[in-house]
């Protein structure tokens, strides 16, 4: 019970941090919001750490939070991030994603998949192509993968340094 509470508190803190990061990035330079998705990063990292169930629930929370601060249909990002959280958690259990490069490729594929699902849902709901005409959004999986693998690498080192 205590562990679950700890996990929830950690996830809540991470969601809050992602939200603050998105808020500050937008203020600093608006296209940064397109270049990386802090919410996806949190969902992937926690899915790898805590498993697919936790990832799916956290994906729902992060996606709906992103939807509420975006014009459009409420639930599109929620659904894509729920699937992202589940699949990232599931695949990371089945595959060895430990080495840095594998880690990078894994997160890149996850982030690209999520972007593809979001684009598909957007196209289905609005009957039009991708929401953003800016090509910067195509860098999102790459930047998310770079930041995610760095974060996981850092976490592993901290874990290893523990007595």
């Amino acid at each position: 019970m205590r562990d679950i509470l700890k996990d929830i508190l950690e996830a809540a803190a991470a969601v809050l941090a992602a939200f603050l990061l998105y808020s500050l990035a937008g203020r600093a330079y608006p296209p940064l919001v397109l270049v990386f998705n802090a919410f996806s990063l949190v969902v992937i990292v926690f899915s790898v750490w805590k498993g697919e169930l936790f990832g799916a629930v956290l994906g729902t929370a992060c996606g709906l939070l992103q939807d509420s601060f975006s014009l459009g249909v409420f639930g599109v990002a929620g659904l894509s991030k729920t699937l992202l959280g589940y699949l990232a958690g599931y695949v990371s259990r089945k595959m060895q994603i430990g080495p840095s490069f594998r880690n990078f490729v894994f997160i890149f594929v996850c982030a690209a998949g999520e972007l593809a699902v979001w684009t598909l849902l957007y196209a289905l709901v609005f009957s039009r192509k991708m929401a953003s005409g800016s090509a910067l959004v195509l860098f999102q999986p790459l930047v998310t993968a770079a930041l995610g693998s760095a974060l996981l690498g850092l976490a592993r080192r901290l874990e290893a340094a523990k007595p």
């Binding site: 939200f19 998105y22 330079y29 601060f69 975006s70 459009g72 729920t82 929401a131 953003s132 005409g133």
Partner: protein, 278 residues
Amino acid sequence: MPPFLKERKNVIVLGVLVFAHLVLISVQVPLGAERTLFDKAVFAFFAPVQRAAAGIAASVSGSWKGFFGLRGVRAENQKLLKEIFFARQENFFLRERLRFLQGEAKIRENLAVLRKTFVAARVIGLDASDPFKSLVINRGAADGVRANMAVCDRSGNLVGRVVEPVAFREATVQLITDPEAGVSVVSGTDRIVGVLAGDAGGGCRLRYVMSTTPGGQEGEALLTTGFDRLFPPGIRVGRIDSVVTDASLFKTIRVAPFFRFNDLDQVAVITERFEELF
């Protein structure tokens, strides 16, 4: 819990979550542009967090700039004093000129109306999925801000309009660069009327101008017409970037908005809606 349910717990939870999302998305179809109560609640809960983050960032940035700004402040002070002197002279001259053109009572009346009509707001966040779609400001229902009020930048150029959700102290603004936006505009010189919408890349397009319509030059300014009964007429919107006339029914007109994303730290909300102004 039966063993087969325990084994498939993860898949069942995923199924429930996906189903809930599909219901949530479907529920919005009859609502149209209106936001669900859940959406409004999430926005109302997290908007103050964004407001606090923006406040902290602004104060840290202000202190940083203030610290370095102290260097060379004396020279800048001298320069400003000189500028103030000329600005005062110019102001005096313009006031006299204005008094000459209009009665003083009329001027006071105009200024009072303006002061009452605008609410200055700070931008505290951008759209989480696409920064060219919307932004969040630190004024809400408590400040008299309501849906469909026009929003301008510091220079009086149109930025967008207030849309739902409007929280107690925060509100969402749909930008004119959003492809879902629509502003009735007229060109300053050739008087071409069309509907301005975003192109999803930070620019705009002027839609529904027939290929047979004469005029429309690059560099021509666009102003609101007020035909949409949302935006007051005469607000500066943007400048025509390019005009392409081909075999299609309508011209392809690209428009560069006058407002600049990097200058959008402060905006003005016209707190009287179209129907109240006219």
